[in-house]
Subunit: 334 residues, 2 copies
Amino acid sequence: MNLGTYDNSRVLITGGLGFIGSNIAHKLVPLGARVTIVDSLAPLYGGHLANVAEIRDSITVHVGDCRDEALMRPLVREANVIFHLAAQVSYIDSANMPLDDLDINCRATLQLLELCRRERPDARVVFASSRLVLGKLLQHPVHEEHPTAPLSLYGIHKLAGEHYHRMYASLHGLRTAVVRLSNPYGERQQLKHSKYSLPGWFMRLAFEGKPITIFGDGQQLRDYIYATDVADAFLAVGRADIALGELFHCGFGQAVPFRQMAEAIVRVLKRGSIQFVPWPPNYERVETGDLSFDVSKLCRQTGWKPLISLEEGIERMWRYFEPRLSQYLSSQSG
Amino acid sequence: MNLGTYDNSRVLITGGLGFIGSNIAHKLVPLGARVTIVDSLAPLYGGHLANVAEIRDSITVHVGDCRDEALMRPLVREANVIFHLAAQVSYIDSANMPLDDLDINCRATLQLLELCRRERPDARVVFASSRLVLGKLLQHPVHEEHPTAPLSLYGIHKLAGEHYHRMYASLHGLRTAVVRLSNPYGERQQLKHSKYSLPGWFMRLAFEGKPITIFGDGQQLRDYIYATDVADAFLAVGRADIALGELFHCGFGQAVPFRQMAEAIVRVLKRGSIQFVPWPPNYERVETGDLSFDVSKLCRQTGWKPLISLEEGIERMWRYFEPRLSQYLSSQSG
């Protein structure tokens, strides 16, 4: 099912200094791909030059904004594959910066597809979306046909991004695909705040000997998928012979209680503790309910499968971060 | 079910010089409402001062862009009810001006809701959406739970607008509602081009003695809903005691073949002719398939019901336009 190869292929990664983007870059370099990264190193998010330290001399990095059409045009023109990861990634922040979220998550995405249509209509474009497009979850495991009724601006704009990719495939014949992620975590994720991807934040708290706070009894289910599995999924979708505009759910395909993730961190790090506190008022307005993804479509159509269990993922993550903590905990992101 | 009254109520209509907005204004003035209109008179669309000629002295008109926050803030602050009709309204144009469509249909809508949240959180906000959020139609009649997979940027951005209204209700408690229209037509619609709402264009062709062109056999089904019925629906939703963030399908609730609309025009005007031609290539990429709306939710929750059959609607429409054709066919929209 994997027809293409990345050897000598020109790959553009927007948001490539961030969590997922940098893990994709690390997979691509040994395969012989010529990797170009655009990343704004926006202080709120996870972009960090430390994320590409080991491959820095093998890739091209443009520190710039993917909304900058003049910057993007020549990069798109040269790309065989584009992984579009650059985004405002916090559903919490999206409520406080609605027009910025629109600008980054819709406008930049639409402009990128327009550039592809005009400059590089044969490029494969793979877009990173999120479980948060779904809203309240009605069934388990969640497959790609589940209704979409997002509860946040972040989710609304990611959903529009999905529709753009589907529509540019059907109307303009672009070779787009969407990878909708469950709960990604792991090496190279940001450790700065608790606004998204909590395993990183919890690992930091445990390291610093501070208690990890869990709302309710921590029995809400999540589908944690490790960084390298996510990167493999993007690579698989990027080279697979799939229909234009396909959407794939990407997760481990297994629901684990939220508290189990926190407990694994405390166990692996051998420090920290867990505190259970009541849910804050009104939290149900944004809580989606239990999640696990049906990932059979992605496995079947691309040959991908997830490899790293939660326990092993937390161990790998700590092995990555332990010797690098000072870099990731400093306020500098460059 | 109609709890409110419009007597002395302050009503803001964005796009109020356009087709639907002006028909709403005509309903409101005799009820004692204090109507304020914002309309940019953008040349592509249907805004026209002729649309409010009969009530011009009873309303306040601001010729301006609803994207202009400084213009909108004091108007929102004073409004009891806001009907948000201003939009880029052509799915065809949306493919050629993607970022403008985003700006008008998403950014302006989001900014309006933000203004409401800050300035007037108790206002009722009613948003006009479109059947084109649905994409390929899978069942008949189409109810509000039908999946949404729009085939155009116009549809994608209108769908984001719907989600904004639902989300601002659930997250911020705003008193929003969405009216999703099937195939509105009738008095005060634009006659300038064929990019949306074809009854107007067909009436013009027939009047000018030119043949009306129909793709295929004209048996595709549409759900035509007359201007005054649409206006009544907005008024009903604006004053009904409904849950926050509700979505309503608004149509006549009856599927009629596309050709029947054209034939009614030729019959009522007693001129013109119909020509059948093959579908243009690739047209199926944007053709949604047969449509009729299940309007039972709107009827049940607001007491509204549609009154004007297609035949009667075409007659009324011609009665309106015949003495005013020179105004509507001139290139001036002001």
